[in-house]
Amino acid sequence: MLTLTCPCCGVTVEETELAPGGEAHLKRFGPGSSDEEFETYMFARKNPKGVHFERWRHAYGCGKWFLTARCTATLEVFGSYPAQTTEPPAELIAKIKEKRPGWEGYK
């Protein structure tokens, strides 16, 4: 069971209070993009074994979306941060790099 801290209301909650939203930091390709770009945006997901950035919604609590970095292999949670951002906070990236030296980055 995952235990995540919601950055919007500051409470540490377990998975059943949350709704998953899939991979975070996707770049949207909408009208005007090529078919290939749109297909990649729509369907291609990383599904890594290791560090993964995800969207979660505190569905039974404050109802806000937030982003989380966790390891899909060990379920270790590196941290969570508000969704109003286009990239993970620098200190979180530094923390992950320290723990997973071989990590190739979130992009």
């Binding site: 919007c8 209301c9 500051g10 409470v11 909650v13 377990e14 059943t16 209070e17 039974y60 609590g61 404050c62 109802g63 806000k64």
Partner: protein, 183 residues
């Protein structure tokens, strides 16, 4: 006007703790920028202030609870809820805000007794050891959304949607039966 009735008309059960449907309660939900001066002023007129994150502030018969970064819930008497809504609406007239009287859309329960925590421990993924007095904790009770706080010594209050009040009462009644204590 038809006579207002609460969801379960004050139904009550006593096991190792007493669970009671709290009857008619005034509830006004408020969505606004919580840092706005107009909101602080509007609440001040009601004798309340903007609560800190996850806090519930009680002054006399009224309370105001922090529900999310842009939402508050004002608890007051059932009769005065319409007036409170109108007052807040007026105070926030120039803001991007929403004030709604949800008194008839919600149900409220109280769980009282020394072992009251144990009734809810079985239903909610909340750490009751760390739930402080004056903290509003939104969570779930079994399959439905619920907001829980310590409303007095040895008393917890629970708010849920009115449509699931019967379900909530069933949960609380079964969970509070004698012999079901955890410790």
């Amino acid at each position: 006007m038809s006579k207002a009735v609460s969801a379960l008309n004050g139904q009550s059960h006593t096991g190792f703790a007493t669970v009671t449907e709290a009857g008619l309660k005034g509830m006004v939900t408020l969505r606004a920028d919580l840092d706005s001066k107009a909101l602080a002023k509007g609440l001040k007129a009601l004798g309340l202030k903007v609560p800190a994150q996850r806090a519930i502030v009680t002054e006399g018969a009224r309370s105001v609870a922090w529900m999310s970064p842009d939402e508050l819930l004002v608890l007051c008497g059932y009769e005065e809820a319409a007036q409170v809504t109108a007052d807040l609406e007026q105070a926030l007239a120039k803001e991007h805000a929403l004030v709604t009287n949800v008194s008839d859309a919600r149900a409220m329960f109280t769980v009282s007794g020394a072992k009251g925590d144990e009734v809810l421990m079985k239903l909610c993924p909340i750490d009751f050891e760390t739930l402080e007095a004056g903290e509003m904790r939104r969570s779930r009770a079994a399959q439905v959304a619920a907001a829980v706080w310590r409303s007095g010594p040895e008393e917890l209050s629970v708010i849920c949607f009115r449509s699931v009040a019967g379900y909530m009462m069933g949960l609380l009644e079964v969970s509070s039966r004698k012999g079901g204590e955890i410790y």
